[in-house]
Amino acid sequence: MNPIFKSHEKDFMRIEADQVCVDYNGTVALYDASLNLKAGSICGLVGMNGAGKSTFFKALMGFVRPSTGKIRLNGLRVNQAQKDQTVAYVPQNEGIDYAFPVSVWDVVMMGRYGAMNIFRIPRESDRRAVFHALERVDLLDLRNRPIGSLSGGQRKRAFLARAIAQRASVLLLDEPFAGVDVPTEKLMAELFLQFRQEGHTILISTHDLNHVRDFCDFVVLINKTVLAYGETSEVFTSENLNKTFGGMPPNPLSGPESSKNFVNE
């Protein structure tokens, strides 16, 4: 099924999705999607809007229940993995209410909630984790600012810091490069490589092909199902990309959305 990993290595998989199908009230959003990612890898999840990227993410995070197939994170069922703080999700900027009265520090501290007791009273170790995470994304100076006063790139970094503070081994990033400034982009790219070194597994949902080429070890091409999966250099062929983007060669400048209308015609 998957050419890269031998079966005996399966136990060491961080992300394991086996023939996952998801449907919303009878409309199939994703079928037969399989994916195996080991520790210390960066994988790009590439597809058009509506191709099932966010459905795949939702299934991995347990937000939607697959109608068939199974998902394991670190060998655990999704809800168990969440309780073990295995998964960190870094949202798209649009999904967050930035007028919410919380500071950058508060937001990053939310990454520690799962490890705290029911009263969510931070211990010294939690504060250290938050401090360290803010240091890594270079936001320590802004820690007392309201989250809404940050720029787009800084906001992204704050949510990345929350994922770092959570110390999750699996990171799911939704369009991490959308609308960020160049320094943030550089910093994030460096961080991702460090994460890989540390043994994290990163799954990046994106339609920006350049970023995938730059630092993803693996690529999953998706259009309602996994069209191709493997090492970036092998999978990133024009033939595969044509399949993914529905017969329209993707233009990295205008983005794959532009091809969507074409397909519908």
């Binding site: 937000f63 809800n79 939310m110 990454g111 909630y113 009263f119």
Partner: protein, 290 residues
Amino acid sequence: MSELLISIAPLNWLLDPLTHEFMRRALMVSALVGGVCGLLSCYMTLKGWALMGDAVSHAVMPGVVVAYALGLPFSLGAFVFGVGSVALIGFIKQKSRIKEDTVIGLVFTGFFALGIVLVSKIKSNIDLMQILFGSPLGISQSDVKQTLIISFIVIFILLLFRKDLMLYCFDAKHARSIGINTGILHYLLLTLLSLSAVVGLQTVGIILVVAMLITPGATAYLLTDRFDRMTILAVISSSFSSILGVYISYWSDIETGGSIVLVQTLIFLIAFLFAPKYGIFKNQTLINNG
């Protein structure tokens, strides 16, 4: 009213009502109810549940009537119908193609109408005006007891789960991804809303209780960027409005519920105009100084 204020010494203005048992009771209950609703209003405004607050507070009406008619605690009936309306809203939304705000409006007016019909049909000594407009000055001993118990339950739960509920309002996806059961939090918040509506209608009545559930939060939201401070400011402004509203009502013989909510609205308007960072005159001082 201004003549009254001038004709009596300010200290007497404050102390004289306290000589009456019913006023001491009214002030205590109003302050407590104000605090409870003020605390919850932070979550309502941040979660964007103002309409839900309106719905639940109106939907408790038939519950209150039925409970009175059966001789049960009114809070029990109100609670059942409050939670029932929420469940019905969720059910209709899920099973039909109708948009949520339409479903909310549809369900709560239906419940409210049922309440009014029941009042007119059930032979009892229920005072429709008292349910609609509240009457903290005429609150009975048993109602005080119920209000105290419910208030402390709500405060206890809100303080215990304040961080989880705050996270749920801010980023429910993250809450879920770290293993927090957001479904439980959702219904917990709705239950607290029903309970707060029940205590709120004691002082300001069903029609105005939604003001208690959103105005203090909205005021506090204009004054701070910190969640903890927001809750403290909302509680203070809400309790203060309730106490001042009862005093004004006592001295000038106006409807207590209306008086409380008007004070709240005035405080909101002051914040809206002059809040240091988010008031509409915020830039004035910056321009003058710069």
